[in-house]
């Protein structure tokens, strides 16, 4: 039964995505012709996801809101440049990443945050040093604590590391897109993600 339910949910989810994609194409086309109502529908569809993205990068709700605002305004002004090679969502999220980074720059928070870079950047393997331990009920009970630790580790990352990680892990963007968005080469994008993941290990180790 659960399997059948999960399959039904998947089908429903796929249908919703198909409808969204069709609507998106129509709204984008209408917005490009100057239809503000169509653009409003795009704002309603994507503003919350954009907030989550910008919040993960800026870690500040005011900056995240300003970044979303700016991202939509920039998207509206450059709708004519949207060539449809990527989805509108991908295009919009890339604009939002830059808007979030711009907010950090403006607020003087774009620098590297507290970091023990020496330990994290040594390139040595770290996974082997951790005890092999399956999750237990006790550890599940510590879920809130793990969440706090993850937050702390995300805060320890530099803006670049956090943005690259958010784009790869939460947004599912390719290394190529990350490199293009952050004006890096692929190798530097990989290194930023490696450093971010290394810093995350600290979130779970004290709880084991």
């Amino acid at each position: 039964m659960p399997g059948r339910r999960s399959q039904a949910n998947r089908i429903r989810s796929t249908r919703i995505q198909d409808v969204m994609a069709t609507d998106e194409v129509r709204w984008v086309a209408e917005a490009r012709r100057g239809d503000r109502n169509a653009f409003r529908l795009l704002v309603e569809a994507y503003s919350r996801a954009l907030f989550a993205l910008c919040m993960r990068i800026t870690r500040d709700s005011t900056m995240a809101e300003d970044a979303v605002q700016e991202a939509f305004f920039n998207a509206y002004r450059h709708l004519g440049d949207f060539d449809g090679r990527s989805s509108f969502k991908t295009w919009l999220h890339r604009i939002a990443v830059n808007a979030a980074l711009e907010q950090l720059r403006r607020n003087g928070k774009h620098g590297v945050t507290v970091s023990d870079a020496g330990a994290d950047d040594d390139g040595e393997d770290f996974l082997a040093s951790r005890p092999d331990e399956a999750p237990t009920p006790d550890r599940h009970a510590l879920g809130g604590e793990i969440g706090r630790q993850i937050e702390d580790q995300l805060a320890r990352m530099s803006t670049l590391e956090r943005t690259a990680f958010v784009m790869r892990h939460h947004e599912g963007q390719s290394l190529e897109t990350i490199a293009e968005t952050l004006s890096l080469n692929i190798s530097a994008s990989k290194q930023a993600i490696f450093r971010a993941v290394r810093k995350l290990r600290g979130a779970l180790e004290p709880l084991r």
Binding site: R40, V43, I150, H169, V197, L200, L204
Partner: protein
Amino acid sequence: MNTISDNDLILYFYRDGLDAARIGEIDDALFASPDLRARYTRLQQMLHAVDGEPAPEPDAQFSVRVWQRLDAQIAAMQRSQPSTGRRARLLELLHSLLVPRAAFAAACMLLLAISVGFYAGRTTAPQPGEIAQTRANAMATRVLDAYVAEHLRATEGLLLTAANSDDAGLVGNRDLAASLVDSNRLYAQAATRSGNTRLADFLRQLEPVLLELANQSPDTSVQSIDGLRDYLKKTDLLFQVRATQARIDAAGKHST
């Protein structure tokens, strides 16, 4: 000897940055090595723990608030572009203001038309010559006023954006500002030629600000941008633009 690093496992987890052959090697190694499987499981647990964190959620009114602010921004931006109303049909050429070269051409044509109008009034007027001269002058003035009013509307929008928008907004309006500089010069010349020295002087006053906006670039210093915004806020330039525009509009209504 284990040749698969943690970094390889991270790329493997995301299935990104590795070619198919390397992915195949890691697949085989994971199948063959319990140690590697344990390492990969730890990585998965760690990254899945991140997924377990709830996505940041804005408050319930967030989307409404974003749209309200955005709608106002878009309206301000559109005000900086020529309108398409009944009167604007007369000014269709000026709609090309967003295209610098076309804007320049439109302003040149206007200058030519006004010159010809005055010249025709002076030289080919039928009897009685004075009446024809007056009519020609009035027509030329009305045409100039209509174009200048539209020019001032575009300028007002540009100045509003400059005073309120972000740095990217300033840079994004460079082309518009450059087109307005060209048009502004020609309207100032046309105003001088038609004897409207007050309007000509005011348009010349606008030129340095338009030039400054036309020269914005992503490299422009924050101090320079802030200085421009302070200047706009401290002077009554925006008010003067609106007042001149209102005066021209009112004159147009009286004369029709």
